[in-house]
Subunit: 254 residues, 2 copies
């Protein structure tokens, strides 16, 4: 039986600067920790908003430079959106899943089903939009490697974004990339407290960690782009957020 | 601008007894806290698994006593399920949303879209199944009232269950009932750090709190049916989990 956490702590980092292309997030985060007289500990999970990772990777687009094609023009009309945003959404999409008044739900090239392909105009300068990191799984891996090298402790890194859901209103923190811990805890075969063997249960822990972190990150003025989660007792491993994504054939709701 | 949490603590309660019908969860929880030399503080959120609330309310069914009708018999064949479980699912359902090999997704009478109407055979004696609380929103309210009366502080209560999702594999902690804080944070009209006004963002904080708590509750032998969340800075109000549930017309994926 695995060991379980009984006590978790989430600490919001409110002392990072505005992130620009080329910034090294591992250095900025470790400096911010030091400023708070804190250090990393073995087993810590560090949740970065995908937005600051995007900014550091230069995934910010000037809307004036977007050339709008015919398909995007029509989609913008259908959905009441800025045609340049519609074009960016199409660029990022593998497939449009649903298109309705005010909503473009797509599968992104990474395989995430989400609104507007994650293209986001909030918390960036007027006239600009932020795209999701090109390869958030790889970004999580590189951040983990960088933080472990600099700190000498074994940690995990998650990239979080706020996604809407089917059936339920409102966004929740959702994982885009994870390194150092499992993306999903496959607990099939384990027994419950009455000796019954589980048949189907897998727990999407990477998403739960990102949802928890989102309670601190919030959506607007909070200025907390990184949350340190301390107390998880998860086995160390390399995983991939793709393990959480249903293929089209498995997905009952597409 | 609202005040935001920068530091959250989650404390798992591992010292409650096995819950039976008629048990007063407010007393058992407060005793368990006292045993840990802890007390409640203003603003604490207490997350109960819906399962122990169901058990205390007598929502445990002996499968030997389930009379199986024709519709359930057929559904059991179609989905490879125990016909008695299929009958319980139908009893709890308002509508069957999807039915496939091994999956019955329904809308429950409460309005939750979930697998098997929340009917669950884990962590209960062999030959028995647990149903969701009859009115989890009311259960949350009554637990909140009881805890506030006994403790003299202002708290909130959430009921959590593990639900699957569309598009993504694995279950996450999801809210069934919430009292004392908002179910959803409607942040439309707020400005981001660049002065842009949000158009659509609502954050499903009750679900995020339950997802966070689920990291500690887990699914099987953990025996942690209650999690205390300390550090949230949310305005006090009465809300209703129904605010989070899309109506059939609003839901893009039904």
């Amino acid at each position: 039986m695995p060991e379980f956490a009984k006590h978790l702590e989430l600490i919001g980092m409110d002392n990072l600067p505005e992130i620009k292309e080329g910034d090294d997030l591992t250095v900025l985060f470790l400096n911010a920790l030091e400023e708070k007289d804190m250090g990393l500990e073995d087993g810590d999970a560090i949740v970065f908003t995908s937005k600051i990772v995007s900014k550091s990777e230069g995934r910010v687009v000037d809307l004036l430079e977007v050339e709008v094609g015919e398909v995007a023009e029509q989609m913008a009309k259908d959905t009441d959106k800025d045609p340049r945003i519609a074009q960016l959404v199409l660029n990022e999409a593998k497939e449009v899943v649903k298109k309705m008044q005010n909503h473009i739900i797509v599968e992104t090239k990474h395989g995430f089903v989400c609104a507007n392909a994650g293209v986001d105009e909030s918390n960036v300068e007027q006239g600009k939009a932020v795209l999701l990191p090109k390869d958030p799984q790889r970004s999580a891996y590189l951040l983990k490697q960088g933080l472990e090298r600099r700190s000498g402790v074994e940690i995990s890194v998650l990239l979080a974004d706020s996604f809407g859901r089917a059936f339920r209103d409102g966004v929740t923190g959702t994982c885009m990339g994870v390194s150092g811990i499992p993306a999903i805890l496959d607990r099939r075969g384990e027994e419950d407290r009455f000796g019954k063997v589980a048949k189907v249960t897998k727990e999407a822990i990477a998403d739960e960690i990102c949802a928890a972190a989102n309670l601190i990150m919030g959506e607007f003025k909070e200025g907390i782009p990184v949350v340190l989660v301390r107390g998880l007792k998860l086995k160390r491993c390399e995983s991939d957020i793709k393990e959480v994504l249903f293929s089209r054939e498995e997905d009952l709701f597409r």
